[in-house]
């Protein structure tokens, strides 16, 4: 605009001047004649006034001068020498230096001041290139302005600009969103090289919150966020891993090392027993489908639907934690909300980015198991201890031909690789982002791999100054090739641990040997097919209408369509398959979740220092799921893997389920002078899942933030640059109860003699409703030493009542449980984050530490009856204790006389029975979190990410079989220290198959300290100098090497303390039971930008 005005100004001046010339000339023209004779002039004046010179010329030539005395300074001194020169030439000599134009017409000479055109000799053309200081890459779209004028330009794709500037005194101002503005005086016309420094404060200045964005400085609720930069640096291939250890208040557990396996995510502890504790995931404002759609059992390990998202497409992840942040998600807010914002194009920032990585993975750890001789000796001893005869003769022990290390047979070094390509850019009206990616990974155990292809397009268009529309669509397809694990008798990992070394992998004829007590894991790994295909369409489109200044209506339609198909086939040549002459399973699930969002936001015009921001809206969400499932047996040939070839369809079903949610929500934010901030928000949710008597629930919240550092009456020390106090309180809910849980139902399919049967299946409870969580949060944010140190602390208290509870009822009633709202849980805790810029020079070092201390406690249960004996670790829910403590007998050690374990007789009645069980451990950590360190030196960067958990116990369920010295399972080498004769003092009891003392019972013997500190990722990067990368046509190029899961410090004796056989199950957390272990990986990669 300024440029336009400037242009008009120049143009007007010019026009007026032309007009003046014509006005003067017009009357003269009548007298002008053709064939004017050439006249000559001789002059020789030294330093005379112009007036005199003009008179002399008039005298000499007979010409008369016409001029305005305002325009022509007659007093100025002139010097001129002309020796009979043509008059025009002489005039030129005279007037040019005086900046006077002349025109000769009919003996009159018109004198006017010369036009002030942009004199080329006064301006210079300056050009240059602008780079990002830290990234060393060019910045397109930077505004370059000549200070004090409207003159300016914008850098091109390569960060280059050129501009005409005055040769003297010019100052250029460079400004770009996210960077600190810079003023540079122009000294010469050499090309300039400008480095802009990122403005961390501004760059991280905006946080995504529910239905909006908020300036970090003005944020009054508790929200953690992880930005794109962090995600890109992590080189992770799924969102779950990206969040692990990165923010306080969120605990991410990778339950299994199986490629594509689901993670467990907890925000501020566990506030539910039966309704799920996973947070709500919202992507670009649309809730995502996150449930496990598999119909074919894989122990607790489900497929991670979150892994469908390409982390490279994510701009930021916000974790909403306190009630003030989550109440706007009402009945789904209790477990926290994770908002994912995807990348979109930016105006004048055209960018092509490509990255690729390639690496290898290996198992982090394997178990030390008995060899053949040790195994046979133990078996003999067990048999003889029970009064039996040896199982193997000494001859057999000495000459047994096989000693198979099953673990080494199933593990392998496995590659993983990824490719990402994205294009983004646009202009002020239209922005686009297009990306595609491929990720492929083989698992470290045979029979496993994972592959994902993503494509995404987003488009935003400013239609006119009132309407903006946009859409984004992402498509993904993932393929999981899995193996049965954990609880299965046909699992590769379990069988490789449990199968004794005395069996060979192959028979002499080359076929798989299957003589052992469990199926041959190599055979299973190679021949069992367990494929899962997930096709996902995630899209949304919006239209924003600016109705009045500050008043905007937005309509949004969001869609998440998931098509999940499983294909399993166990040929007759494996143990499981042989039982069925070949067994084929097929399942397909289709989920369509769509949502209509309407909201109106109003940003009032600031009145004095008062700001008001309002939002009201209504969402309508519908969920439809359809499944089918088939099971066929009796296949004619192992090669035929589809049920078309099965002689018998044993089972086939199709089912459907619908759910609906209607919600109305609002928020009012009132801000006085950016010092006092008040927010009220709430949501009114109605769900088809809620009982008839409780169809709708209301979830309000309020908060207050006080930016103490902005107070003028308080004189803050200079080192304290920011200080903010936050308070919030509110109510949220958890709606994840089974559909129709409130209805008393008869189920179908309970048939007899192939005639249909119906049976009562649930008692029903018309009062059934959401869980209610009241949460109070107090937070402090402080910035020290000009924000070189940023500290945040949050203290929260969450009390959840009306627990959705499948409460046990006497099974003699014919039902084992009934869904009710009973009981209370509390979570209270402290979250700390410390960001520091330790060194800031050519060598820079940034670090970030976060710690979460959460204390979980069950406050009440139905009649305070404990829930007992849950899962492998005999877990228990008991009032006064955290959810899911390990509960069993306390092992005091091995009696040196009998070799049996002495269990504590807690009640002293002389009998060891159920009444002697006590708490023997807790899966909850005392503190967990992560540490990030970033180092930069010139072109080299190094990131080290660590995450840790301290004070949690793990129930090592593997040892209950692999150290129990009973039965046919192979044992770990720990049993070499077993009790063998009276007087032996050891921690390992005797070998016995009869085990009359039940040494193998769930006892403290199997509970271990599960604390760990993991060096999760170490990444070393090298950015090429721009000179080098430009030579090959790139703007930016970085190569790196990254090691994941480099080392784990732990006392845990199993494969990994993070493993969990029951997946996301709340009640059975912290139990390791033959779970697929984690891999250590080493990758190299490259990131380039054009």
């Amino acid at each position: 605009m300024k440029q336009l005005l400037l242009f008009l100004e120049i143009e007007t001046k010019l026009l007026m001047r032309i007009l003046l010339v014509f006005l003067i000339l017009l009357p003269l023209s009548a007298r002008s004649g053709a064939g004017q004779p050439e006249t000559h002039l001789s002059l020789d004046v030294q330093n005379k006034e112009l007036k005199e010179v003009l008179s002399e010329i008039e005298d000499q030539t007979g010409l008369s001068f016409v001029y305005s005395e305002q325009d022509v300074d007659l007093a100025q001194k002139v010097t001129i020498k002309a020796d009979n020169e043509i008059t025009e030439v002489a005039f030129g000599k005279l007037f040019d230096s005086l900046q006077i134009d002349f025109m000769i017409r009919n003996n009159q000479v018109l004198l006017v001041p010369a036009l002030e055109e942009e004199p080329p000799n006064r301006d210079i053309n300056i050009s240059g290139t602008i780079y990002c200081q830290t990234g060393n890459f060019p910045l397109p779209g930077v505004n370059v302005m000549l200070q004090g004028t409207g003159r300016g330009t914008v850098t091109n794709v390569s960060g280059e600009f050129s501009l005409e500037v005055p040769s003297e005194g010019a100052v250029l101002v460079f400004s770009f969103v996210g960077y600190k503005s810079k003023e540079v005086p122009v000294s010469d016309d050499e090309p300039m090289t400008i480095f802009l420094e990122e403005d961390m404060e501004l760059l991280e200045g905006v946080v995504v919150v529910g239905y909006g964005r908020e300036s970090r400085k003005l944020l009054s609720s508790s929200v953690s966020d992880v930005g794109a930069e962090t995600l890109e640096r992590l080189i992770v291939h799924d969102l779950g891993s990206a969040l692990q250890g990165r923010a306080p208040g969120i605990q991410v557990t990778q339950n299994s090392g199986m490629p594509g396996a689901a993670v467990t995510t907890r925000v501020r502890g566990i506030s539910s027993i039966n309704a799920g504790a996973e947070p709500l995931y919202v992507i670009d404002g649309v809730p995502m489908v996150t449930q496990n759609l598999g119909r074919i059992g894989f122990g607790g390990q489900s497929i991670n639907t979150l892994s469908d998202i390409n982390p490279n497409d994510i701009e930021s992840v916000s974790i909403l934690k306190d009630a003030s942040a989550t109440a706007i998600y009402g009945a789904r807010g209790s477990n926290g909300v994770i908002l994912i914002t995807t990348k979109r194009g930016q105006a004048y920032a055209s960018r092509v980015a490509f990255s690729s990585s390639f690496g290898f993975q290996q198992p982090v750890r394997t178990l030390d198991l008995l060899n053949t001789r040790q195994f046979m000796e133990y078996r003999n001893e067990a048999s003889m201890n029970d009064g039996g005869s040896p199982v193997y003769t000494q001859e057999q022990i000495n000459t047994w031909p096989h000693d198979t290390d099953w673990q080494s047979e199933i593990y392998r070094t496995a590659p993983l690789h990824s490719y990402n390509l994205s294009f983004s850019g646009g202009d002020t009206n239209t922005q686009y982002f297009i990306s595609g990616s491929y990720f492929g990974q083989e698992g470290i155990a045979i029979g496993t791999d994972y592959e994902r292809i993503n494509g995404r397009v987003s488009l935003d268009q400013q239609v006119n100054d009132r309407i903006k529309v946009g859409a984004s669509l992402s498509l993904s397809r993932s393929y999981n090739n899995r193996i049965d694990g954990d609880q299965s008798l046909d699992g590769v990992v379990p069988n490789a641990i449990a199968l004794p070394p005395i069996y060979p992998v192959y028979n002499e004829d080359g076929s798989y040997n299957d003589d052992g007590p469990y199926g041959n894991p190599v055979n299973i790994g190679h021949l069992h097919i367990d494929d899962a295909y997930n096709w996902r369409t995630l899209g949304n489109s919006y239209a924003q209408f600016r109705l009045l200044d500050g008043l905007t209506y937005e309509f949004k339609y969001g869609l998440d369509y998931v098509n999940f198909r499983e294909h399993s086939y166990y040929p007759m040549t494996t143990r499981l398959g042989s039982r069925y002459n070949g067994l084929g399973l097929e399942s397909a699930s289709e989920v369509l979740q769509h949502q209509i969002i309407n909201n109106i936001s109003y940003l009032a015009e600031p009145f004095s220092d008062h700001y008001l921001d309002l939002l009201v809206g209504a969402d309508f969400e519908s969920y439809q799921r359809r499944n089918n499932y088939m099971r066929g047996q009796d296949f004619p040939d192992p090669q035929l893997q589809y049920i078309a070839s099965a002689a018998t369809i044993v089972f086939a079903d199709a089912s459907g389920r619908d759910a609906k949610l209607h919600s109305y929500y609002g928020r009012a934010k009132y801000n006085i002078d950016n010092k006092y901030i008040f927010t009220l928000s709430g949501r009114y949710d109605g769900s088809s899942r809620f009982g008839r008597n409780n169809k709708f629930g209301f979830f309000p919240s309020g908060d207050f933030a006080w930016r103490i550092s902005e107070e003028t009456f308080l004189s803050m020390p200079a080192w304290l640059s920011e200080l903010k106090l936050r308070l919030s309180h509110g109510v949220t809910g958890n709606d994840k109860i089974p559909d129709f849980g409130f209805m008393a139902l008869f189920s179908t399919g309970n048939d007899y003699e192939t005639r249909p049967g119906i049976t009562p299946s649930s008692l029903g409870n018309p009062d059934l409703k959401w869980e209610t969580t009241h949460q109070t949060n107090v937070g402090i944010d402080a910035g020290l030493l000009a924000e070189r140190i940023i500290v945040s602390a949050d203290f929260y208290y969450k009390r959840t009542s009306d627990l959705l509870f499948s409460r046990p009822i006497p099974s003699s009633a014919g039902f084992s449980s009934v869904l009710s709202n009973v009981g209370e849980i509390e979570n209270k805790g402290v979250e700390l984050v410390l960001h520091t810029q330790n060194i800031d020079s050519q060598f820079s070092w940034l670090s970030s530490v976060n710690m979460t201390f959460n204390r979980n406690k069950v406050l009440s249960l139905y009649n305070d009856q404990p829930l007992d004996d849950i899962g492998r670790g005999s877990q228990r829910i008991e009032v006064g204790e955290p959810v899911g403590i390990f509960y069993g007998w306390e092992a005091l050690g091995v009696d040196p006389t009998t070799g049996d374990i002495v269990f504590a007789d807690i009640n002293g009645d002389g009998i060891i029975d159920a009444n002697d069980r006590v708490k023997i451990g807790s899966p909850h950590p005392l503190v967990h979190g992560g540490v990030t360190n970033d180092f930069h030196y010139r072109n080299i960067s190094l990131q080290v990410l660590v995450n840790y958990s301290y004070g949690n116990d793990v129930f090592n369920g593997v040892r209950r079989y692999a150290e129990v010295m009973r039965g046919l399972d192979n044992q770990t080498t720990a049993i070499l220290d077993r009790w063998q004769q009276p007087g032996d003092v050891t921690q390992i009891p005797r070998a016995t198959n009869a085990d009359p003392n039940a040494n193998n019972r769930v006892s403290s013997r199997f509970v271990e300290d599960g604390s760990y500190l993991k060096i999760k990722s170490v990444r070393l990067g090298y950015s090429f100098n721009r000179r080098v990368s430009e030579r090959i046509g790139l703007n930016n190029m970085q190569v790196y090497v990254v090691a994941q899961n480099l080392y784990t410090f732990t006392k845990y004796s199993g494969l990994d303390p993070e493993l969990n056989y029951a997946g996301q199950d709340i009640l059975r957390m912290g139990t390791d039971f033959y779970t697929y272990p984690h891999a250590r990986s080493l990758s190299v990669g490259i990131q380039i930008e054009i």
Partner: protein
Amino acid sequence: MKTKIVYYLAIVFALVSCESALDVYPFQSLESGQAIKNENDLRFAINGCYDAFQLAGYYNRSLVLFSELVSDNAYNGGTIIEYGQLNNHVILEDNTVISGIWSAIYIGINRVNTALYHLERLDDIPSDRKTVYEAELRFMRALHYYNLAILFGDVPIRLTPTLSLDDLHVPLSSQADVLNDVVLADLEFAEGKLENVNPKRATNTAVNALLARLHQFRGDHAAAISYATEVIENSGRILDPDYASLFTDQVSMESIFEIDFTEQDGNRMAQYLFPSSMAGRYEVAPEENLLDAYEANDIRKEASFSLEGPDPYSIKYNDITYGSDNVYVFRLAEMYLVRAEALARSNGDISDIHSDINAIRARASLEPVNAVDYDELLLIIERERRLEFAFEGHRWFDLVRTNRAVEVLDKVTSADQYYLPIPLSETNTNEAI
């Protein structure tokens, strides 16, 4: 502009005002109030009652295998800890096999009670048909309670369905009351009211067989003799001349009541009995002294057990693929041995006893017995029962009934071990216990 805003707001609130759309109904289930509206629905509910016998804790697996494991018939050759505990008589209150049996039987009871409740309220069924349905249902209930009483001794009695949370807590009743007030009462109601067609469902014969078993347990010898005789003489069932054919796919002419399993609705017997090399779990493996107890010519041994390498295993249920082997609750042979035992205990006619025992032995290609001492005959009957019904779920109950378990079983040292502990899941929740 203002009109426009009103227009937009109108759109929003038009969308808002559709609350009834929150009404969503299940596709796979029926609301209880709508489930049983007519006689046809009732028939489906009765099918559901039979379905309870197919539960994993019941004739599908646990009830039958339990009796073998806790007696001298079998040992735990597999890996399931709870089976090992049963085998060793280290039976903790939290043993999941036991709680599985408990809840399966009570699920069956609640299904029957629910069907009876609705039956009473269906007005359009003629009263004669109503009586037949009631008899059928009450036979099932009698069988459930009989099983409970012989497993656990004293148990809660529930004769009405659990319809709300007010109906949950019921105290224990004595075993005698359970047998008398429920089992006997139900059976006496059902007696003579049923047809005698399909051995996979309740029949008059099945009612009489259960009465014979009940009276045998209660020591009412005359009644046991009378009901057993009724079945033997008037049921139309005959001893299958070929013992092995009792365990084929065909319904035997000897069958009184058996639980139907199909390919779609299979049991897990064979899977738990077959050795691992045949894709089984070998959880319940025959003891050597059981196999040794067969006389040399006894054809039942070959028909009941086979060898896979060195490992013997039961082949009475051999469909490991589908688990479609039917499981016997009553077959005619039992009635001969019930009558023989009752006669022996009531000083009955020796030749009648011989005749009953020898009917069973003759089919097994064995020489007739000729012992004349009652005690000796009782031991012969006990042994015949063990061999005739090996792996059919009788042995433990026989030894408990005759109070011989302490004598016969090493791991049973007192009669206190005869009845299972009430599962922890019940005692923790039932306020009346």
